[in-house]
Symmetry: C2
Subunit: 424 residues, 2 copies
């Protein structure tokens, strides 16, 4: 006698929370200023490798069959009644920025494993296989390109390109895969799944402002990353007349102030602009800097506004160069992604699951980039957002979603995966 | 039969030039962008220690009796007919910034040694002893306080303060003195010399603009060094609304732009402002910086204008802090020196020597700080400036004074020292 196949799944919220807290121990540090505990698991560092081993062990405990591909992406597969059917994929990443919290990325990976544990507990066999993915270097802060593992898996970037990327100390990603033992044998090109669903913290204040626990993500806004290198002229701070200076730090400062003016002008829609990386050389108190390096991160939900903002920045850089003899500016494109709309049918399945769990939701656009925007190129894809506290702050030790909020999101994920995995 | 005591001295310009070029080999590097050869001899590094040993050997070859004090200051003494008379002191420093040329400081030290060689060649005995000094950490870029060795020798700073200063890697100056073998036994407090005269490159364009080879320095303008630490809040670049940001990099940029506006306003006299050191944390492309550190170097020939500029900057920092919730700014005073006027009688002796060498000169104020401003506290002091090429650029591999310009300055130094050393 077989029990009737359930159509709704509720996970063990305590077990989910314990996994999140356990993983947060790996790469943990104490923030010197606030005393808060944060996470530092930059991709393919020793801490990240330790986190990967922990997640791999959890996958095996959940009887997933684990494979690692040539990019170090990890897939745990739960077989379906029809092993030849395309699997339903879920997952995210566990690499972090240097000053992270416990939730970003981890919730999607550990949420996926928790769904599998729940399916196991209830003895449910789905028609299609379910796979849980851990993508490599989603943050992009170590090797300079974000969503890297998923971008190679989905075919947007080549394996050769990714392996040759270097960190600031000149170490290649390929070398770090080998060093950490995550240079797997599986083909990196992912066979198109039936669908991809990723659960992730919102990293913003919108769900809290609307007082709803979950969001159905309609897509990801456009992202533009550039590196700007400014060459000026080193000179003595005390003796060089101001008119004879070509001050690279001043030029960098003018760019930063201009970017904020562009944001505040409202002329570029919902533009966000961040200069997160900045340094000057020779970096000495009494020397006018000869060189400055900086990154510019632009986000825009509207591709037309994004193009106009990029053009306006380029024009400002040209004017700046012309205004000061001895100053030269060079830009290098690090990353550029257009607005990625998600699949309406998957969004509908997520919305229905939220309804069936009696969870209010709103549709919203993602401000951050996610692996889902890469996988969206090869299969129907959407995301579930989970509410965060403190205005949804993330990439910071203050990042926090309550155990209940996490469970809400993963319950919606569980029911969504169950239904997608039973589709024809 | 004794020859009549000469009243004018001309040095061997080729020998002087060769010494300058030889010393520039120590710590030499190739600038990657321009292909020019520069010098990197930060104080008490291995390169600086090698330079010190070279200079010590030259002193001994010139039969100077060498002593090293507790700050690593090196003195080479040429005895006078009256050994009990206070010596005439000359010298400068051989430590450099990280991107230096061959002349800054070195000309004063090697010029002093060249004067001694010339006195030896001509068998001249002066009434007073002549001493050539090499002062430690004049640049201040490694341990954060400039004119350090001379400041301790003249009694403005204590030995304990200086020994406890640390570089960015946490190494103490005292430890580096021991490591390099320059922790000498001589008492650091200098017995007041009869006079101090320092020959130095101008590091500015004024002598070239007036088409004169040498300058008689009337004093040193005021210098103010501060470190500003800005605490903001780390946040995700894609998801954190602009209104919720406390962006430390933006605040740093606003300070830099404001400083230039203050300079350009003309409201603070001949103010010069430089932000030479700047960094942000966590320094990642997609994180709003939580912290920024920067230095502000202000120079002003007028103490009243300097005080007003410092007050205006402090007011701007307070307004900036108030304008953005979550932003806090802290300042730390690194160095502050008022305008130091030089001794009129020594200036007159220098001017007379220039006249006697048929060298046109102008009086001018120094834009840079020099050991002379410290020694001026304990004896009559003045300086000789030598013209530089390329608008007098210094702290840069392009720093250059011609062999003839160097010889002109050292000839004036030689005659000045000879006359001062024969004074009662």
């Amino acid at each position: 006698m077989t029990s009737p196949t359930p159509d709704k799944l509720t996970v063990d919220s305590d077990r989910l929370w314990q996994s999140l807290m356990d993983l947060a121990e790996i790469g943990a540090y104490r923030d010197e200023r606030t005393g808060l505990r944060g996470v530092n698991r930059l991709a393919l560092t020793d801490a990240d490798a330790a986190g990967r081993r922990r997640v791999g062990a959890w996958m095996e405990e959940a009887r997933l069959s684990v494979r690692i591909d040539q990019m170090g992406n990890i897939y745990g597969r739960r077989e379906g009644a029809d092993p030849s059917a395309a699997p339903v994929l879920t997952g995210s990443h566990i690499d972090s920025v240097a000053t992270a919290g416990a939730f970003d990325g981890c919730l999607g990976v550990l949420g996926g494993i928790e769904v599998v544990r729940t399916l196991n507990d209830r003895g449910i066999t789905t028609r299609r296989p379910i796979e849980v993915a851990v993508f490599t270097e989603e943050e992009g802060v170590r090797f300079g390109t974000d969503m890297l593992g998923s971008a190679v898996a989905a075919g947007r970037l080549t394996l050769e390109y990714a392996h040759a990327l270097t960190d600031r100390d000149g170490r290649t990603l390929g070398g770090e895969l080998t060093r950490t033992g995550f240079d797997g044998p599986a083909d990196v090109r992912l066979a198109p799944p039936h669908a991809y669903v990723e659960c992730h913290i919102e990293q913003g204040p919108v769900l809290a402002e609307h007082n709803v626990p979950v969001g159905v993500v309609t897509g990801v806004q456009g992202i533009s990353w550039q590196e700007i290198t400014i060459h000026g002229r080193a000179a003595h701070a005390g003796t060089t007349p101001t008119r004879l200076r070509a001050d690279a730090a001043l030029a960098a400062a003018q760019i930063i102030v201009q970017l904020r003016a562009m944001v505040d002008s409202g002329a570029y829609g919902e533009l966000r602009a961040t200069v997160g990386h900045l340094n000057v050389h020779p970096d000495l108190t009494n020397i006018v800097p000869a060189r400055a390096e900086m990154t510019v991160d632009l986000r825009n939900p509207d591709d037309t506004h994004m193009v106009r903002a990029e053009e306006a920045l380029a024009a400002f850089l040209r004017d700046l160069e012309d205004s000061q003899p001895g100053l030269t500016l060079a830009t290098r494109r690090m990353a550029q992604t257009a607005h990625v709309p998600f699949d309406k049918s998957v969004q509908k399945t997520i919305a229905q699951a939220a309804d069936d769990h009696d969870l209010p939701y709103i549709p919203l656009l993602s401000g951050a980039g996610h692996d889902a925007q890469e996988i969206a190129a090869i299969c129907p894809t959407a995301m579930i957002f989970v509410r965060g506290e403190h205005d949804g702050i993330s990439h910071n030790p203050r990042e926090y979603s309550t155990p209940q909020a996490c469970a809400h999101g993963v319950n919606v994920l569980a029911t969504t995966l169950l239904r997608l995995a039973n589709e024809d």
